[in-house]
Symmetry: C2
Subunit: 318 residues, 2 copies
């Protein structure tokens, strides 16, 4: 059944259906006709994110070939054994990039741009390169400086993850309903179809996709992700090991992310330096507001500060 | 089977048992012979904490009578209907305090001391009054000023709870394995048996009990509970409602406590003012350390700050 025939049937019956049924049909059609036309996906870096992308493609698009690329043969063989990969190799080669293929670079943020620039010379113009890095301007800027990479690359950041890395924790539904920010460059002459294809790739593994510039992404993620990590680290260190026995579930929730890899997070913070500094300054200012209200016995102001936060947080699911 | 007979059996067999079996027997005996000699427990304030104390007593000590005291007849009747209470009333009366009874005041921290002082004149010397407030010095100091209350009251703080109040969310195992800090006054001539009885009460509903002065409690809880609440509120407000769509599970975990009641938390922060100010200052200092390391491109220092926190947080279960 092709799209046109399906639409004809829909037009013929829609006047006889109630609104909820119509909505359900429209949602189903959107799902069915969502494009995912890739012949193969090459995942560079098969950890939690790369492994979950592999799992999602294997489950949703079994006709697409998934190749893992990494340093450790042993780890890659184990990921294949776990059913995540059709194939693997320790380097990207031109022979992998035949037909319509997407390369997804899932490395630490400081290694992504160099990897993209190393892959681009091997690729035909039909290849799309994207990434999953949680900072964007530093990566996109470096890629755009390379004339071979620039027309092939569209940066992306799926906002999903966990404290525990490794493909062993990969899940096919890790991206379900999560937002993926797609960040075409502010300027340059990238083919609009490449951007659209990038959005189809990420929505094809379950993401809701939104588009913004690399800098806008970095400004917002400094607030929504990088600052919370710094705040959790500060809260943890101020408490200190000796006081952990008197912590409760609130502390555990609030500081869970502080257990994340220091090496990876150093690169993220340093890779978004100016925006993180601005976010930290905002937090320092608001902490000073709390302290001043406490010092001045201005209890209504304390309640106001708490209430602003509670209203904001309550508007989000728990 | 009484304690002495059980101990004789234990002594006769222990040389034939391996260490893990012995440990298991000792733990079981400790549980069996834990004292809980209260005829009745009066819970003033039947919310999440008061309701969970009621549920724990009803489950573990069915011979003990549980009376709820609160403002709303409708709510109290509903709590009785839910099986939490044997009985309820809208005020504590002398007739409730017959025999060996414990009054547990589970009100907002700013209402506890006045409530204790109102109950004490009705009580015989055999009555124990304790509380569940999350600040201690302000409460204990005010109670100790009252000659009738001072010999009856031993403050306590079970470190357990949740963002969602109300007896509907009460759980009989809310206190299982959680720490309860028991805070006899720094000075004064409180009967040591009252302190011991308080510890038995809280361990009798599942808590691990630790003893410290009210001020020591407040200094540590400012770090482990009150500061994390301020940090979560700051993180939430700096992000702001407009950026919530780009938050992930890390932000949700880190800020969950910020949804707690602003009115209750204002009283907690104001009730532990000096210690909270000191804790906020420590956090401001460490945020400034992060900002300086970022500004000076001192990336090894960023990683060191993150690593200190990660080591500390990893030593706690997730």
């Amino acid at each position: 059944m092709d799209v046109m025939r399906c639409c004809r049937i829909y037009r013929a019956v829609r006047h006889h259906l109630r609104a909820p049924v119509l909505q359900s049909i429209i949602a189903t059609m959107a799902e069915v006709f969502r494009q995912f036309d890739e012949d193969s996906v090459i995942i560079v870096g098969v950890g939690l994110i790369g492994g979950s992308i592999a799992a999602a493609i294997r489950q949703r698009h079994p006709g697409c070939r998934v190749t893992g690329v990494g340093r450790s043969e042993q780890r890659l063989a184990a990921a294949q054994e776990a059913g995540l990969l059709n194939d693997w190799a320790t380097a990207v080669t031109a022979s992998m990039l035949q037909g319509r293929s997407v390369v997804v670079v899932c490395l630490p943020v400081n290694m992504i741009a160099a990897q993209v620039r190393a892959i681009a010379p091997l690729a035909s113009t039909d290849v799309l390169i994207t990434d999953a890095g949680s900072v964007k301007a530093a990566i996109c800027d470096r890629v755009m400086l390379d004339p071979k990479s620039a027309p092939l690359f569209v940066g992306a950041h799926p906002i999903a993850g966990g404290e525990t890395g490794g493909f062993e924790n990969a899940e096919a539904d890790l991206f379900d309903g999560r937002v993926c920010v797609v960040t075409p460059p502010d300027h340059g002459e990238l083919d609009g179809r490449k951007i659209h294809r990038t959005e189809e790739f990420w929505s094809g593994i379950g993401c809701g996709v939104t588009r913004m510039t690399p800098r806008e992404h970095d400004r917002i993620l400094a607030l929504t992700s990088h600052l919370p990590h710094v705040m959790a680290a500060v809260t943890t260190s101020v408490v200190g090991t000796e006081n952990l026995p008197l912590t409760g579930s609130g502390f555990r929730d609030a500081t869970r992310i502080a257990a994340g890899s220091p090496a990876l997070w150093k690169e993220i913070l340093a890779g978004n330096r100016e925006q993180v500094i601005a976010a930290v300054q905002s937090a320092e200012q608001m902490l000073a507001d709390f302290r001043t209200a406490l010092t001045e016995h201005n209890d209504p102001r304390i309640e106001e500060l708490l209430s602003d936060a509670a209203v904001c947080r309550t508007s989000l699911e728990s």
